[in-house]
């Protein structure tokens, strides 16, 4: 089991969701974050005050998956989020020690496998 974390451009969030859906990855969390990677600073001016915006808006996806789903998830994140410009984001894959589905108490792989109705 792995936790796949993808930090992407907010305007690509919908494309990522579509790509994940096509890869049949279910069970996704996303949150708005601010961060700084290699992209150029954006200059903004408010009346007399000029500022460099060091942090950019990003969207952070978190997907807990069984091992066989790690590569499809990473591929989907790349496919959905890539523009080719600096600032497309990063993907981190980290080991996942334990997962529990709260409703049933199922743990481990069963907890990250989508319910099939």
């Amino acid at each position: 089991m792995k936790l796949v974390i993808g930090i992407v451009r907010p305007e690509k969030a919908n494309d990522v969701l579509e790509a994940l859906y096509r890869a049949e990855v279910r069970g996704v969390s996303m949150s708005r974050v601010q961060g700084h990677g290699g992209e150029l600073d954006r200059v903004e001016t408010y009346r007399g005050t000029t500022v460099k915006m060091g942090l950019s808006e990003k969207v952070r996806f978190e997907v807990a998956v069984s091992d066989s789903f790690v590569q499809p998830t990473v591929d989907a994140l790349c496919e959905g989020a890539r523009t080719g410009e600096v600032g497309d984001g990063k993907i981190f894959v980290v080991p996942l020690e334990q997962a529990v589905r709260i409703r049933t108490g199922e743990s481990a792989e069963a907890a990250v496998t989508p319910v099939v109705k």
Partner: protein
Amino acid sequence: MSVLDLPLIAQASQVDTGDTAWMLVSTALVLLMTIGLGLFYAGLVRSKNTLNTFMMCVAAIAIAMVTWALVGYSLAFDGDGALIGGLDYFAMQGVDFIPREGTTIPHLVFFAFQATFCIITTALVSGAVVERMRFGAFLVFATLWSILVYAVLAHWAFGGGWLISGGTLDFAGGVPVEMGSGFSALAAALVVGARKDYGRQALLPHNAVYVLLGAGLLWFGWFGFNGGSGFSTGDASVLAFVNTLLTPACALITWFVLDLIRGRKVTAIGAATAIIVGCVLITPAGGYISPGWAMVLGFVGALPCYAMIVWRPRTRVDETLDVLAAHGVAGFTGILFIGLVAQANWNGIADGLFYGNAAQFGDQVLAALAAPAYAFIATYVLLRVIGAVMPLRATEHDEAIGMDVAYHGEEAYATGEGAILVAPDADGEVLVADPG
């Protein structure tokens, strides 16, 4: 334009202080509408385009005011040429304190009141192209459109052109303002093209409260727009003022019912839209139809507009903020409605078809065909020409990050987190101040 024909004031060419006071207030009310429209439009777009959308309305105030003062007013209101006015009022020459024939307010006040109409109409068209049109290209478009489309239509309907001299009744601008903006919006949407995510992603309004507040400010301002279009405090103005209360209220009720039938819920953004639709419906008819018919107009006239608003997003035409439905279709409906139910005992001028005067309906049909045709064709050609000289659209990259940052270097909802202060030094270099 109705009171120009009333015998009551035909002989008076001196200034009436009461009329002038009301027209000064009306002018300010109509100007407020453009800011209200900016808020209404800003709420309907995504948050990354809030400022750009609002700024198109602010820019329309600046641009249309100046073009109006230089040539627009003259082309619209100098002389009674069939298609276009003259240039005797170029740069406001001869526009002074002496009332125009048939009015009791200083010429300057008449000019200013009409200027606010040109401003809001220019701003209205922006609703078709928000979220992807280059700001610079919009400024060029607004400059030329306010002269070549608005001033021409204003001449036809208000300034002595072929429609008004042929007998078409248009109280406060069904021809130049509502059909002018609505059908121009359709042309603009077709030439500029759809937003890149249109039809692929849900592009939702980001602040419904702005939309409601904007609609409220528009309604408030509309009492000057319609209530001032009699250019006096006379019967026509009073009638139009009260009808401006009645028609939108009835349009709201129709909208509630249609929302309930369609989705089992009454929507807030639908309500805001209904207010606009109701105000537009009564705009051409305000001073010509009885309060009873004004209520019928609200109830019935909302139907085609609602149908258009439901149908349009299923097409590939990204006429983003539905200017065609809310203004074009509603203005069209209002203009025709006058031809059916106008009553001489209310307006002192003419009856409609229902009261035995079929010719009036013919005059109204003429306007309802000519104004959309001219607005659509002229705007289409104008934007094609501008598009041949400069790009009309933002780059895909700019459209993705949002027009606010791309064109204005500002965000509507800046948090200041991660912002580093920059101070220019003597050499013009920038020093990054210590954020601590």
